[in-house]
């Protein structure tokens, strides 16, 4: 059924129009607020919030329409045409897109609302809102893009906004360095992505970049290429979704304002990588051997456990959340690696994660705003002072920990089921360990932040409704949104988003109880250490010192980067320096030393024996050389000087050619042309 609107031509359906409107509102906001700059300080934030609210409404309508009518037909117009190169600019609104539209606009709206207070009084508030709006536009553009190049364009725009927002306080050295780092590191991935896109375009038959047509256009390629192309595309996803080893930018990105962290580094931008892989899933499954997907799984599962271990020892509340984000993204990527078994689960986890991670970041923002510190050891005892923040934060933590029946439980369970279904033993084990670590570090984080005695003087108190309302909304969603995908409630989400065909999942009681047990164990461990003090923290650190240091130093990844990329250059130059100093200089010095000794020997030989002979010879030579001198002075010098003088003479005449006077040059040019023409006329035409 199509809702064709009479006044617009072509295959535009109401769904597509609303999707475009969803993008248009924040774009409009960006243009207005961005252009008005400083004069928009007062009304700019409000305007931006209103536009994003409109966008939220349209996106919800889009979701409703897609649920009711299925995906809208892709609408496109010719974007660029030259020769046989044709690129379309289109909007593809299907279930995945509709879901992402809702998630992005919802989190973005709440962040806009939250920032009203958080950023209040900042001199760059209008710029902040303009950038948020541009970011939202770009993210919506990524989501609605119908071909890879269009997606890439918005993808880069997202990267740019991330750069701008991380470096929002650019007068802080750490902030702009973090921004640069994020930009460069993601660019490493983007290079791969772009190479992949170019390869797709060149190798596809017929040439296309359309996401719908690509899998069939690439199907007949050589198997090796079918592994390489998805992996190149996955590189882009690794950069944006912060997968090991390109995750290094995300913890540093916490230098940006906290609402930005909530929007970009928890809910939306990092999800772009997941979205990209999900969108290109058709390409990943082309490879018959499944190698590409295996790589994806292993990268994801390793990232998940890797980041979780680091999160257990962080002191900065935002860093804990950052590493937890990387870990959860690893979860999603791992699930994507299961192909059609994990596709739905990954996107389900993406949605639930957006809710509770957005909540946690906003909650931490509220705490940071109140206490003016980010170090958890300087907080504590905030539960009484900030009850709403504390309660919502705890709910979010439980959702992240994956405790039944919160949202995280259902999506995590779906991923574990996928792992089990594909018999991926190692990823399953890693995922289960992560499932144990997650509740542990979240318990630690919550306890240190909200309970115990205040460890530092502060006057924390709850902020206005603009701060708490987003928290409450997200907390409610974190609790209930999992039910849309719960196997006991009809698997609505699974029926809505799936790859190829919908398959109902069998309820795996072992996994459900097992993971719940692990979560409870993790919470218990956290409480045992931090709340009840059963184990002394210092004792534990002493016992597990190597492991602690290993985690504390983030598995030495930054150092590894330094070691792989920076140090070798440094060492190479060091080595060259040493080689120069030792070997070459040594050789030279040695030669000199030898020469001195030899010289001494030779001197004795020379002074004693040779001189006698020489003196004799010298007498003869003097006589001969007198003759030669005459010859030299008169004949040879004469010749040499004569040549030099001749050259100088010719040069002094010839250099006049170089007059530097343009008409001279032009004359020679035209005279030559005329000459050539005359010669051609003479030889070719007349004869």
């Amino acid at each position: 059924m199509e809702h064709t609107v009479a006044s617009l031509a072509g295959s535009w359906t109401l769904t597509s129009i609303l999707a475009v409107l969803t993008m248009a509102f924040p774009l409009l906001g960006f243009i207005i607020v961005g252009l008005c700059g400083k004069i928009a300080k007062e009304w700019g934030p409000k305007l931006a919030t209103v536009t994003i609210f409109l966008s939220l409404i349209t996106s919800i309508v889009v979701l409703g329409l897609v649920i009711a009518n299925g995906p809208a037909p892709t609408v496109s117009f010719v974007w660029l045409q030259s020769g046989n190169l044709t690129l379309d600019f289109g909007f593809r609104v299907d279930q995945l897109c509709a879901m992402m539209l809702c998630v992005v606009t919802l989190v973005s709206f709440l962040v806009h609302l939250f920032s009203q207070d958080y950023m209040h009084g900042d001199p760059g508030i209008a710029r902040f809102y303009a950038e948020l709006q541009l970011f939202t536009t770009a993210m919506l553009g990524v989501v609605t893009a119908s071909n890879l190049l269009q997606l890439f364009a918005f993808w880069e725009l997202v990267g740019l906004c991330s750069y701008l927002l991380i470096g929002f306080w650019f007068h802080k050295r750490s902030a702009y360095q973090a921004a640069k780092k994020a930009f460069f590191v993601t660019k490493v991935g983007d290079m791969g992505l772009f190479t992949g896109i170019v390869m797709c375009f060149i190798l596809s038959n017929p040439h296309t970049l359309s996401l719908e047509a690509l899998p069939s256009a690439l199907a007949s390629l050589a198997p090796a290429l079918l592994i390489i192309i998805p992996l190149l595309i996955f590189m882009g996803a690794m950069g944006k979704s912060a997968q090991f080893p390109l995750h290094v930018w995300l913890p540093n990105a916490m230098e940006g304002p906290t609402p930005v962290s909530a929007l970009i580094h928890a809910a939306t931008m990092v999800a772009a990588g997941i979205y990209l892989v999900a969108r290109c899933m058709g390409l990943f499954t082309l490879d018959p051997s499944g190698t590409a997907l295996k790589v994806v799984t292993y990268v994801g599962s390793f990232t998940a456990i890797f980041a979780a271990t680091i999160a257990t020892v962080q002191d900065d509340i935002k860093k804990v959340l950052a590493y937890s984000t990387i870990s959860q993204l690893g979860y999603m990527v791992m699930a994507l690696g299961f192909g059609k078994f994990g596709y739905t689960a990954a996107l389900f986890h993406l949605m639930t994660h957006a809710m509770f991670k957005g909540l946690l970041f906003l909650g931490s923002g509220s705490v940071i705003h109140a206490t003016h510190t980010q170090n958890m050891h300087e907080m504590g005892g905030l539960f009484k002072k900030m009850p709403i923040t504390a309660w919502t934060f705890i709910l979010g933590s439980l959702a992240l920990a994956g405790l039944f029946p919160f949202a995280g439980f259902w999506s995590k369970d779906a991923i574990l089921v996928g792992a089990e279904a594909t018999h991926s033993t190692i990823p399953l084990i890693l995922a289960l360990i992560t499932a144990f670590l997650t509740p542990y570090y979240m318990t630690r984080c919550v306890w240190l932040t909200f309970f115990g005695k205040p460890r530092k003087e502060n006057h924390a108190h709850e902020a206005s409704w603009r701060t708490t309302l987003p928290l409450i909304i997200l907390a409610v969603l974190s609790v209930v949104i999992g039910f849309v995908g719960a196997p006991f409630f009809g698997e609505l989400f699974q029926r809505f988003i799936f790859f190829h065909e919908f398959e109902s999942e069998a309820v795996n009681w072992t996994l459900i109880f097992g993971s719940t047990g692990l979560v409870l164990a993790g919470i218990f461990l956290g409480l045992a250490i931090y709340a009840w003090g059963w184990f002394k923290k210092e004792t534990l650190i002493r016992i597990l010192k190597p492991l602690y240091l290993f985690f504390k130093n983030k598995w030495f990844v930054d150092e590894a980067w330094t070691f792989i990329a920076v140090k070798p250059l440094f060492y190479l130059s060091e080595f060259c320096h040493w080689f120069d100093r030792t070997v070459i200089d040594g050789a030279v010095n040695g030669v000199a030393w030898l020469s001195v000794i030899l010289g001494n020997i030779v001197y004795w030989f020379d002074a004693g024996i040779v001189d006698g002979l020489v003196n004799l010879a010298g007498y003869l030579t003097v006589k001969v050389s007198e003759l030669v001198k005459w010859f030299d002075e008169n004949v040879i010098d004469g010749a040499v000087n004569g040549v030099a003088a001749l050259t100088g003479f010719i040069g002094s005449k010839v250099r006049k050619v170089q007059t530097g006077y343009l008409p001279n040059y032009a004359t020679i040019m035209f005279a030559s042309i005329a000459l050539v023409l005359i010669l051609v006329a003479w030889f070719a035409v007349l004869n």
Binding site: S7, L8, A9, F77
Partner: protein, 339 residues
């Protein structure tokens, strides 16, 4: 000679029409001077010229006689040849532009002297020629103030040519043709509505190109005495004057054709004479509007003039082109705007 007689007849008819238009131009320019002075008078709560003829109606003819009978002075430092003919060079293009103006459709005959495919382009090209006469006039007078006026003129003309042409391009995009008659007759909705930004740009740029008051820097009395025509008197001055007032009408007519639907309006006269009527009515209304508009504003400074051209008019016209592209690409919207 092949088919000589028909050529001759056509040529004679063309000469006759040309002479008719010439007469129209002259009388029109004369009447416009009177109209301007009267209008200005009313705006100042004065009566305007009242002495010559009933209600001052013959004032312009008296002025003309005065100008024609004045002594013909050629300054000593002047370049004689160009001093003599610069006024004509300035005036001739204004007269040529009449060839491209679609006065209407009377008895099935298009009242366009040169009904060419590129009429709009030709109008703007020919109008640009006038400035050569003005520059020459300024230069050949051998007077510093004249030269300064001429240089200012050149800068102004080149600068405002660009936004004006871009505004015209938007109209051409919408109409799908450069034929002026086609453009004026294709408008279902007067283009002033879908092209409002373009109209503003065109209007302001045209005012600048014909040196109406907010932009009459070329003859800024306060700083340049009287600009490029300070040394001119008698009939030469009259021709510069004529050129200026003819352009006033030409600009109004072009605006009418491009933006105000040309001769469209209720039919109430036989043989389609009403289209001529409406065209002239709209044009003179536009003339009145320009006089009113320009007489209400003070003169801008030279730097303001340039800033306006490059920083306001040019971006605006580009925005207008984007907006027009949006209309043109959307068939249903396009159907609302054009027939």
């Amino acid at each position: 000679m092949e088919n000589f007689v028909p050529y001759l007849i056509v040529a004679l008819i063309q000469v006759a029409i040309s002479l008719g238009i010439f007469g129209f131009v002259m009388v029109n320019a004369l009447l416009l001077t009177l109209a301007e002075r009267k209008l200005l008078g009313w705006m100042h709560q004065r009566l305007g010229p009242m002495e010559v003829g009933p209600w001052g109606l013959f004032q312009p003819f008296a002025d003309m006689i005065k100008l024609l009978t004045k002594g013909d002075v050629i300054p000593k430092a002047a370049d004689k040849f160009f001093y003599s003919y610069s006024a004509l060079i300035a005036f001739t293009p204004s007269f040529i532009t009449f060839a491209f103006i679609p006065f209407g459709l009377v008895g099935g005959i298009k009242l366009v002297a040169a009904d060419t495919e590129i009429g709009v382009l030709m109008i703007s090209a020919v109008m640009a020629l006038s400035v050569i006469g003005i520059i020459l006039g300024g230069w050949s007078s051998g007077n510093k103030f004249s030269l300064l006026g001429a240089v200012r003129t050149a800068a102004q003309e080149i600068s405002y040519e660009i936004p004006k042409t871009l505004a015209i391009i938007a109209v051409v995009m919408l109409a799908g043709s450069m034929n002026v008659y086609h453009i004026s007759s294709i408008q279902r909705v007067w283009f002033i509505a879908p092209q409002f930004i373009g109209f503003l740009v065109f209007f302001v740029s045209s005012l600048a190109e014909i040196f109406r008051i907010p932009f009459d820097l070329a003859e800024g009395e306060s700083e340049l005495v009287a600009g490029y025509n300070v040394e001119f008197s008698g009939i030469r001055f009259a021709f510069f004057f004529f050129a200026e007032y003819t352009y006033l009408f030409v600009t109004s007519a072009v605006i009418t054709a491009l933006y105000l639907g040309g001769g469209s309006g209720p039919e109430f006269l036989p043989w389609g004479l009403s289209s001529l009527f409406w065209f002239l009515l709209k044009s003179f209304a536009m003339v009145g509007f320009i006089l009113w508009f320009s007489r209400s504003l003070p003169r801008v400074r030279a730097d303001q003039l340039m800033n306006m051209a490059w920083k306001i008019m040019l971006p605006l016209s580009l925005v207008n082109i984007i907006w027009t592209a949006f209309i043109v690409l959307n068939e249903n919207l396009l159907k609302i705007v054009v027939k």
